[in-house]
């Protein structure tokens, strides 16, 4: 095999779903030893194309060559046999088993006796080669998210993958972990592995990719172009088809009276460990208070105590009325809307339709709720309006939301939470995992809400987003508020320092 033969050549790939042309004559060429970024908005067809390469879907037409050889995959097993491995966004690991056990799971060898020590050694060698360090004898639950991802990568490498498909690998990682992953990817590429890197984050593409392919609505808008002279703005335009403002315009704030007031709030997490320690803060109407912090420092618990999903001590007042430790329905009735962190496991019911999901908070109110019954004609009409207004892409309002892409699912939640004209909005990671077009749309919606006088508590791990949207920024670390600063005067280094737990000023 000569080295000029590309690792993967997909030509004229067409994949059709009912009512949708997911891939419309798509070409993609992955050169050996390259990192090839695959970019596109949610629903652009990136995952579909990669699932076809990994043997999960079958194209209607088109050809795929792997190392110059024509292939036709009927199952992921066929793809693995040709050296194609996919690292999924959601890890598929057994938490109670060790790293080695997870890597060996489903392999033909060892057959009966697990000589784990021997395999630990083998895995250490593999780790050494690619710089993917993680203790093979650790149990999965003891590992950080970044380490778990390394196990997923090791799993595919152990199965002999030469072509790695990485589906949004950075979406779940902290900034330091992203840097580490980038170094690992480069090291793997230098040793001859070919990598397809699916992402939404433009600066990552610019910093690591050798070549890039952009999809928009199932069509290729940039095919395998080199990275020379590529700018963030150019990429965004290729993806979205129009210019994207990287900094949405913000009206000057007109804060009104205090809507939400927390005083000395303490709460425990699911493991009964202190999660919120003496938290005091307030949010005024027409104001966005950003909560900055590294994930897992009490942010989820903060959102939950306010919305009535978690017990706490201390005082939480909405419009001067005590709301702590009351059932969630009371918060909803007081005009608190909540964009939950986890849009699939908390924010929506996957097998229910868009209509049923959009009436979730208001099904008891007229005209949709009508005593004992629900007027589904009115509910569908309401959902159709939301679908139009918020540009939710779906065949109909009867579509189960489990079939929607991440961005569209988030729009269903936002549409529902905004249309109740809330007094207070608790928005947790509202743009996580979304593409630039959707992020912009959602940020504009939040600012419109602020303009309409809603008090917004914005919990985010994206500092850029917090600086763009917030009027004030509170930093949370280990369940404690380290300080609250004015966003215009805030210094990113100062915030960063507070996030690590050092108090700079009160």
């Amino acid at each position: 095999m000569s080295s000029t033969v590309p690792a993967v050549e997909m030509k004229d790939i067409v994949i059709r779903f009912p009512g949708v042309l997911a891939n419309d004559h798509v070409n993609l060429t992955l050169e050996r030893g390259n990192i090839h970024a695959l970019l596109g908005e949610n629903g652009a067809g990136k995952s579909t194309l990669m699932n076809a390469l990994a043997g999960l879907y079958k194209p209607v037409s088109g050809t795929t060559l792997v190392n110059g050889e024509l292939v036709d995959f009927n199952s992921p097993r066929d793809a693995i046999a040709k050296g194609i491995g996919m690292v999924h966004q959601h890890f598929m690991l057994v938490p109670t088993q060790t790293v080695t056990e997870n890597i060996l799971l489903g392999m033909d060898k060892p057959r009966f006796f697990m000589n784990l020590r021997k395999y630990d050694q083998k895995i250490l060698e593999l780790q050494e080669q690619y710089g993917l360090h993680v203790d093979p004898t650790s149990k999965i639950w003891q590992l950080s998210v970044g380490e778990q991802q390394r196990v997923e990568i090791l799993k595919t490498l152990y199965r002999g993958a030469n072509i790695l498909i990485m589906d949004e690998p950075t979406a779940v990682l902290a900034p330091q972990e992203i840097d580490e992953l980038m170094r690992n990817m480069r090291l793997m590429a230098d040793q001859g592995k070919s990598i397809i890197f699916i992402t939404h984050k433009l600066h990552e593409v610019i910093s690591i990719a050798d070549r890039l392919t952009v999809l928009r609505k199932g069509k290729v808008t940039a095919e395998g172009r080199s990275m020379q002279g590529v700018t963030k703005e150019k990429l965004a335009q290729l993806m979205v088809g129009r210019e994207v403002l990287f900094s949405v315009k913000k009206e000057p704030r007109k804060p009104g009276k205090i809507v939400l007031e927390l005083d000395n709030v303490f709460a425990k997490n699911d493991k009964y460990l202190p999660a919120l320690i003496d938290v005091s803060l307030d949010v005024r109407s027409g104001e966005i208070l950003g909560i900055a912090g590294v994930g897992g420092n009490g942010q989820s618990e903060l959102a939950e105590v306010i919305t009535g999903l978690r017990a706490c001590s201390g005082s939480i007042k909405i419009n001067d009325q005590e709301v702590s430790n009351q059932p969630p329905i009371n918060a909803i009735k007081r005009g608190v809307s909540h964009i939950p962190e986890d849009r699939t496991s908390v924010g929506t019911a996957p097998n229910l339709s868009i209509t049923e999901n959009s009436i979730m908070k208001g099904y008891t109110n007229n005209p949709i709720g009508n005593g004992w019954s629900i007027n589904f004609a009115k509910a569908h009409e309401y959902a159709r309006n939301l679908k139009e207004k918020y540009n939710i892409l779906a065949p109909s309002v009867q579509t189960p939301v489990g079939k929607l892409s991440g961005g569209n699912l988030q729009k269903v939640i936002l549409a529902r939470e905004i249309s109740s004209e809330p007094l207070l909005m608790v928005a947790m990671q509202p743009t996580r995992g979304l593409d630039v077009g959707a992020i912009e749309a959602i940020q504009i919606l939040l600012l419109q809400q602020r303009g309409a006088g809603t008090a917004i508590l914005l919990i985010s791990e994206e500092l850029d987003e917090l600086f763009t949207l917030s009027d004030r920024i509170a930093v949370i670390s280990d369940g404690k508020i380290m300080g609250i600063v004015d966003a215009e005067e805030a210094d990113i280094n100062e915030i960063g320092l507070m996030m690590t737990g050092s108090t700079v000023r009160e």
Partner: protein, 364 residues
């Protein structure tokens, strides 16, 4: 060149497909059962004809089938209500017995004198049957909602308690001359049967179909309405699909668990009442040949759809009737088993597409 079978995941399911596969599965089950008949030296076509005669052959035969289907319909609905919320109520059998006991109390205590109007006696029996079934559903519902006690265990255990409780009364207190049954109820406590009108309408003579079947049909409409249009049904669906999302949406989960279990129990209790009032006319041992458990299967096979529950119940009712007529009676169970097996396997067709392709296409 050759042919090869290819299995692909379905992206969407056409609306007609579930019905077609279900009918196909039943036909296939009959064919397989026929082959087994043939193999053991029987005459499948004759048997099939006989089977048909026994189940649908005449109004009297069909009425027998419907009488057997009636408790299955009501119990199937009871199970469907609980299953919709992913509450695994496998205690319909016990709730059925509790309902039968409650209904019998009206006559055995007696709560009203037996010369009261029929409508009063029957009305009270319905109320008491549903009340006792409801209590039997409320207990595991309450334990699940308040203390998170696994409802599978509690409902299963309560089955035995209900049956033994019944036995205590019929062996001792209300025993009819030492037999393990109470005396036959006064006719005022019998549900009206078509045969009662044989004098006016000749055609009804010997038709044992009783009013319980109306309970089943009305209950099916009520459950259908609840699932499709009611606020409660929406909450049930929401909790069933994603309890976390339901809690986030402000739905009171504790209250709904208790309500659903109580309602499910009340329906199963109604089935017990209908069987007591329409068929057995007294409290005795083994009033149910496992209706409470067959109801679970019926609800699943019908995919929790209230009207499908009626159809599946008629099929199972037919199999029970046929089991009485065909010798050896085990053949009916054989057929039941094959139908179940194939129906459940046929679900694969809803999830996957099977195509036959030429291998040369493959090798291009």
């Amino acid at each position: 060149m050759g042919l090869r079978v290819k299995v692909e995941k379905r992206v969407d399911v056409p609306k007609w497909l579930p019905a077609v596969t279900a009918i196909g599965a039943v036909i296939l089950a009959f064919i397989i059962a026929g082959l087994i008949f043939k193999f053991i030296g029987g005459k499948p076509l004759v048997a099939l004809r006989f089977f048909y005669q026994a189940v649908f052959g005449s109004w009297a035969a069909f009425s027998d089938t419907m009488v057997k289907a009636t408790p299955l319909i009501i119990v199937g609905l009871a199970c469907a209500v609980a299953f919709k919320m992913r509450l695994w109520n496998i205690g319909a059998e016990g709730q059925f017995y509790a309902g039968a006991f409650g209904a019998s109390l009206v006559v055995l205590i007696p709560i009203v004198p037996m010369n009261s109007p029929k409508i009063v006696v029957i009305g009270l029996m319905i109320l008491m049957g549903m009340l006792f079934g409801a209590i039997w559903g409320f207990i595991p519902g309450f334990l699940k909602a308040k203390y998170n006690v696994n409802e599978i265990i509690t409902t299963l255990m309560l089955n035995y308690i209900a049956i033994l409780w019944n036995n205590f009364w019929i062996f001792d207190k209300w025993s009819d001359a030492g037999f393990q049954m109470t005396p036959t109820f006064d006719r005022v406590a019998w549900l009206p049967r078509l045969a009662d009108y044989a004098k006016e309408y000749k055609i009804f003579s010997g038709i044992t179909l009783h009013m319980g079947v109306l309970f089943g049909i009305v209950a099916a409409f009520v459950v259908w309405w609840i699932f499709k249009y009611s606020r409660w049904g929406y909450e049930i669906k929401l909790i069933g699909d994603n309890p976390k999302a339901a809690r986030y949406a402000g739905v009171n989960i504790v209250r709904n668990i208790i309500l659903v279990m109580t309602f499910s129990g009340a329906l199963a209790g109604l089935a017990g009442m209908s069987e007591i009032g329409g068929v057995v006319h007294r409290l005795q041992e083994s009033i149910s040949p496992g209706y409470g458990f067959t109801g679970i299967i019926v609800a699943w096979l019908a995919k929790l759809n209230p009207f499908m529950i009626i159809i599946v119940s008629i099929l199972f009712g037919g199999l029970i009737v046929a089991g009485r007529e065909i010798q050896p009676s085990g053949l009916s169970f054989l057929l039941q088993g094959i139908i179940l097996f194939i129906l459940i396997s046929s679900d694969v067709l809803l999830r996957y597409k099977i195509r036959i392709v030429r291998t040369e296409e493959e090798a291009v």
